[in-house]
C-alpha cells in the first residue's frame, strides 16, 4: 500500500505565460541565454511579442527548487566548448572560482590501509610496489599519459554554484526572463486525456506551501499555482520531479532505461598556506578508497580546491557510505600531503545519471522539451556533463527562436524537426553514441570495466564490451551473504549500539577501515559537514519530499542502503524498522531514489523522491 501524499483537489491560482522552465542549471542557462540574447538584439521583433500578454515581450518564467541560484552542487572541469560558443570572449577570471586548465594527470591509487582489495588488485599493487622508488610515489602510480578522451585541454575548472550565479545575473539583467529560486515545482500539467501515444504538457504546477509533512493543509496554506505555458522546458536534472513524472506518464523510448547512477560527493577545501598546487590543476584518480570509486581534485584560484569521489550504483556493496569514503579518500597520501591543515569551506553531493544515451527520455512532446542531464546528455566516457547540458539548452533556444519567427506552435512535430534534429546532428549526440557502451564492463568487475572503457575510448565507441545491465535495485548485492559477512555485521551492530553510531559507519570500521581522527577543520563529523560545509536548512511549510511507498517492504529490508548512502544523514532507522526522514537535513542529492533494493516492480525502488524545498546553502559548490 502506498503512503505517498495524494494530490489535493482545490481551486488553484493560475497564471498564463509563454514559456515556463523547470530548474535552473547549465542547460536552462544555455536556453535562456540564447533566447535573451536574440531578444536584446532586436526587442521590436514581432516574434518576441507575448501571446498571453499582448503588447508585452514574451513572458518567460523559470522556477528553481534551491533557495538560491548559486546553490549548485558541483565543482567541474569542462572543455567548455559549448559555453565558449555562447561567450566567445569569455575569460575564466570573469567567473569567481574559475581557472583555465593548466595541468591534467591521472593516478592509480594504491591502498595504504589494506582495507579491501581483490586478489587481482592486490597483485597489481604488489607488482607496482616492486618499483616503489622508481614509479610509485605517495602510494600512487601516475599514468604516463592522459587518454585523449579524458582530456579537457583549453577547458576550465569551474564552481557550478558560481557559474550559475554569473549566468543568472546576466540573464536577469537582460530583462526577458525571470528566475525564481526557492520555488519547487511539483510536476507538469497534463491533459486529462493524456496517453502514451499523445504526449502533451500544458505547463507546471508549483508545490503547495503551508502544508504539514504529509501534505495536509495547515496554517497559511497556499495551493501551488498552475503556471500554464505554450512551451514547458524541463531542465530539472536527473532526479527532478517534473522529469520523473514525465517518465512515469509517457515511459521511455523502447530499449531505454535509467539503471546506472553515481553519487558525486565533494568538499571545497581551502588549501594550507604555501600550497604548491596551482589553479587549473586537474587530477583524476582511481583505485582507492575502493576500486569502483573514482576521484578527482580540481584547483581553483585563491587556494581553493574541489576534491571528491563518485560512488557508482554498480559498486554492488550495499554499504555505500559516501561521506566516510570521502574522508578516507582525502587522507590518501597523494592528496593528504597537499590537503592536510586545510579547512573545509563547503561540501555537497548530487546524483549523476550515468545511463547517458541509454537513459534518454522522449526529448519532445506537444508543448514540452527536455534538456540537460535529465535528458540523457551526460557523456560518461569523457566524464563530462556541464558543457553538454549547456549545449542542449542552446540547441533548444535556437529551435524556439526559429519557431517563434516562423509563428509555428510548439508541437511535438515542430520541436522534433528543430530541436531534436539539431541535437542529433551535433557533437553532443556523437559523443553520447561513442559513450553509450563505454561503461558496460564495470558490471562485470573493475578490471573488465577499465578494459571496456579503454576500448570504447580509444576506438571512438566502435568497440565495447557487451553487458546486460540490471535495474539499479538489482545492482545492490544482498547484505552479508556469507558467514564472514554476517559475523562482521554482528560485530558492527554491537559497536553501533554501544557507541550510538550509524550501522554503516560501524561496518566500515569492522571491515578494517581506520577511525577518522576528527580535527574540527577538515575532518569533521557528517553532521558538522551539513552545517560547516553545506549549511543545510529547509523552511517549514512544505511536504516531505522523500516518501517510503510501502513501509512493510522497508521494514523487511535487511540492507537499508538508503540510510547508508544518504548524503545528509536525513534518513535514519525508525523504531518500527522502517527508515525515517528529516527534511531539514536533506541536501536533495536524490541518492535514496536509486539506493533501494526493495523494488515493487523490478525496475524502480520503494522510495519516491518528489519536489521539495531547502537543501544546501553554499555558493561555492
Amino acid at each position: 500500500m502506498s503512503s505517498a501524499p495524494q494530490p489535493i483537489e482545490v481551486d488553484r491560482p493560475t497564471m498564463e505565460v509563454d514559456i515556463v522552465c523547470a530548474g535552473f542549471g547549465p542547460a536552462t542557462g544555455g536556453f535562456l541565454t540564447t533566447l535573451t540574447r536574440a531578444w536584446s538584439e532586436n526587442p521590436g521583433d514581432p516574434a518576441f511579442e507575448s501571446k498571453v500578454a499582448p503588447g508585452m515581450p514574451l513572458q518567460v518564467m523559470c522556477y528553481e527548487r534551491a533557495d538560491d541560484l548559486a546553490a549548485g552542487v558541483s565543482g567541474v572541469v569542462t572543455r567548455g566548448e559549448g559555453i565558449r560558443s555562447s561567450f566567445p570572449t569569455l575569460e575564466p577570471a570573469e567567473i569567481p572560482m574559475a581557472a583555465a586548465v593548466k595541468e591534467e594527470r591521472v593516478f592509480y591509487l594504491l591502498d595504504p590501509i589494506g582495507a579491501r582489495r581483490s586478489t587481482l588488485l592486490r597483485f597489481v599493487d604488489f607488482v607496482l610496489g616492486l618499483g616503489r622508488k622508481a614509479w610509485v610515489k605517495h602510494y600512487s602510480f601516475e599514468l604516463p599519459w592522459t587518454p585523449d578522451f579524458l582530456h579537457k585541454r583549453g577547458g576550465m575548472v569551474l564552481s557550478i554554484g558560481q557559474f550559475n550565479q554569473w549566468v543568472g545575473s546576466k540573464l536577469m539583467a537582460g530583462g526577458l526572463a525571470q528566475i525564481w529560486p526557492g520555488t519547487p515545482v511539483s510536476g507538469p500539467i497534463f491533459d486529462g486525456n493524456n496517453g502514451k501515444e499523445k504526449r502533451t504538457v500544458f505547463g507546471l504546477r508549483l508545490a503547495d506551501q503551508g502544508v504539514d509533512r504529509n501534505g495536509v493543509p495547515a496554517d497559511g496554506y497556499m495551493p501551488g499555482m498552475d503556471v500554464r505555458a505554450r512551451l514547458t522546458v524541463v531542465g530539472d536534472g536527473p532526479v527532478g520531479a517534473v522529469g520523473q513524472k514525465l517518465d512515469e506518464q509517457f515511459g521511455l523510448p523502447a530499449g531505454h532505461a535509467r539503471r546506472e547512477w553515481a553519487l558525486g560527493m565533494k568538499m571545497v577545501i581551502e588549501l594550507p598556506e604555501g600550497s604548491e598546487l596551482e589553479a587549473g590543476t586537474v587530477w583524476h584518480t582511481f583505485g582507492f578508497p575502493e576500486p569502483e570509486i573514482f576521484g578527482f581534485l580540481y584547483v581553483h584560484p585563491e587556494r581553493l580546491a574541489s576534491v571528491g569521489i563518485f560512488v557508482p550504483s554498480w559498486m554492488g556493496n550495499p554499504q555505500r557510505t559516501a561521506y566516510r569514503y570521502l574522508q578516507h579518500y582525502i587522507q590518501h597520501p597523494l592528496l593528504w600531503r597537499h590537503l592536510q591543515h586545510g579547512t573545509l569551506r563547503s561540501w555537497g553531493a548530487k546524483s549523476l545519471e550515468e545511463s547517458g544515451k541509454r537513459g534518454e527520455p522522449f526529448l519532445t512532446g506537444d508543448g514540452f522539451a527536455r534538456i540537460g542531464e535529465g535528458s540523457g546528455s551526460t557523456n560518461m566516457l569523457t566524464g563530462s556533463g556541464v558543457d553538454e547540458a549547456w549545449t542542449t539548452g542552446v540547441q533548444l533556444g535556437m529551435a524556439v527562436l526559429g519557431l517563434l519567427r516562423a509563428d509555428k506552435p510548439f508541437t511535438q512535430e515542430n520541436l522534433a524537426a528543430t530541436y531534436e534534429a539539431r541535437r542529433r546532428a551535433s557533437w553532443v549526440e556523437n559523443g553520447a553514441r561513442e559513450a553509450e557502451n563505454a561503461r558496460n564492463g564495470f558490471h562485470g568487475g573493475f578490471f573488465r570495466g577499465m578494459v571496456g572503457m579503454a576500448l570504447a575510448g580509444l576506438t571512438g565507441g566502435r568497440l565495447a564490451l557487451r553487458a546486460s545491465i540490471p535495474p539499479a535495485p538489482k545492482q545492490i548485492r544482498p547484505f552479508a551473504s556469507n558467514v564472514s559477512g554476517r559475523l562482521s555485521v554482528q560485530r558492527a551492530a554491537k559497536v553501533a549500539l554501544d557507541c550510538g553510531r550509524p550501522l554503516h559507519d560501524a561496518l566500515m570500521s569492522a571491515r578494517g577501515w581506520p577511525e577518522i581522527a576528527f580535527d574540527g577543520r577538515l575532518l569533521v563529523t557528517h553532521q558538522d559537514a551539513l552545517l560547516m560545509g553545506g549549511k543545510v536548512q529547509a523552511i517549514p511549510g512544505f511536504v516531505d519530499h522523500v516518501v517510503f511507498l510501502d513501509r512493510q517492504r522497508c521494514i523487511a529490508c535487511q540492507d537499508k542502503t538508503c540510510i547508508a548512502m544518504c548524503s545528509g544523514q536525513a534518513l535514519a532507522l525508525g523504531e518500527d524498522g522502517a527508515p525515517t526522514f528529516e527534511r531539514e537535513k536533506c541536501v536533495h542529492c536524490g541518492a535514496c531514489l536509486w539506493n533501494c533494493a526493495q523494488s515493487p516492480d523490478g525496475e524502480r525502488g520503494n522510495i519516491e523522491f518528489a519536489a521539495g524545498s531547502g537543501g544546501l546553502h553554499s555558493a561555492q559548490n
Binding site: A70, W180, D219, M222, M225, D528, H617
Partner: protein, 273 residues
C-alpha cells in the same frame, strides 16, 4: 489611515556561512565575500515583512494609498539576485543604490547616502514617513546606521529593538521595544514621522507568492536599470576592531549521561561563552 513606509535593508553574506574577517586595502573585510551567498539582512527582512503587513492592514484610499519602499545599497547584480528571493514574499517598490558594499563600511557615509536617497523618493510625504530597518545586522552592523539616517532626515522619535507596533485611530501608535531583562518597554508615539529599528517582530516568514513576485518585478527591474551609482567615502576611518558571528561547535558522544546531566553541562557551556 495611510503610511509611507521606507525600509532600509542591506544585503549581507548569508549568516549560515562560516564568516572570517580579513584585512583589505581599505580596512577590514569579510573573507571571500563575493563568493558567499547573499541575503537581505535578516533583521531588516523582519522590518520589511512588518512594513508590508502594516501597509496591507492600513491600505489608505485609492488617492492616498499606503506605500512601502525598500531602499537597499549594494552591487546591482547582487541586489538583483537577492530580490528574486524577496519579491515573492511582500509588496514593495525597490529603490536600489548601486554601491560597492562589502566588509564593514563607514556608518556615517552609508547613512548619508541612504538619507539623500530617501529624501529624493518621488511622492514620499515626510510627515507620513515611518522609517523601518533592522535593529541589528546579521553580519556587519555598526548599530547606528538607522539612527543616523533618521537624524539626517530630522526624525526625532526613534525606537530600537521593536517587536510590535499597534496603530491607533488618531494616527498615534504604541510600540513594544526590547529592553534588558527580557522585558519590553511600552511607548506611545503621537504619530509619524518616526524611526523603528525592528527586532524579529511577530510575523512568520510569508509564503512565496509567484503573482506577488511578478507584480513587484514590474517596478524592480526598471528601478535596477536606473539605479544611481555611489561611492562611499572612507572618511579616514580608523578601525579598532571588527567581529563576526561565530559558529561554535563541540561534538562529543556520551553514552551514560542522563538528560539532567546533559542539560546541566549545556547550561554551563552556554554560561562560559
Amino acid at each position: 489611515m495611510n503610511f509611507h513606509i521606507v525600509v532600509c535593508a542591506g544585503i549581507v553574506p548569508d549568516p549560515l556561512q562560516t564568516l572570517e574577517s580579513t584585512t583589505a586595502p581599505n580596512g577590514p573585510g569579510i573573507k571571500n565575500e563575493m563568493v558567499l551567498p547573499a541575503v537581505l539582512d535578516p533583521w531588516a527582512t523582519s522590518a520589511l515583512y512588518e512594513a508590508a503587513n502594516l501597509a496591507a492592514k492600513n491600505s489608505g484610499s485609492p488617492q492616498n494609498p499606503s506605500k512601502v519602499w525598500l531602499v537597499s545599497l549594494g552591487p546591482k547584480a547582487k541586489l538583483q539576485q537577492v530580490m528574486m528571493s524577496v519579491a515573492q514574499k511582500a509588496s514593495f517598490e525597490l529603490v536600489p543604490i548601486d554601491g560597492p558594499i562589502g566588509g564593514f563600511p563607514d556608518a556615517q557615509a552609508t547613512a548619508a547616502v541612504l538619507a539623500d536617497t530617501i529624501a529624493a523618493i518621488p511622492g514620499l510625504e515626510p510627515e507620513r514617513l515611518l522609517l523601518f530597518g533592522g535593529w541589528e545586522s546579521a553580519t556587519r552592523g555598526a548599530g547606528v546606521t538607522l539612527q543616523l539616517v533618521g537624524e539626517r532626515l530630522g526624525i526625532g522619535d526613534q525606537f530600537q529593538g521593536v517587536d510590535a507596533i499597534d496603530m491607533h485611530e488618531d494616527g498615534s501608535f504604541e510600540v513594544l521595544e526590547r529592553v534588558e531583562g527580557g522585558k519590553h518597554q511600552v511607548s506611545v508615539c503621537a504619530g509619524a514621522p518616526a524611526v523603528l529599528g525592528w527586532a524579529t517582530g511577530n510575523l512568520a516568514e510569508p509564503r512565496n507568492n509567484p503573482q506577488q513576485g511578478m507584480a513587484n518585478m514590474r517596478t524592480i527591474m526598471p528601478a535596477l536599470q536606473k539605479a544611481k551609482t555611489v561611492a562611499l567615502e572612507a572618511n579616514g576611518l580608523n578601525y579598532v576592531s571588527v567581529s563576526l558571528p561565530k559558529q561554535q561547535r563541540t561534538t562529543r558522544v556520551e553514552k551514560n549521561m542522563n538528560a539532567e546531566e546533559i542539560a546541566r553541562e549545556i547550561v554551563e557551556w552556554i554560561g562560559a561563552k
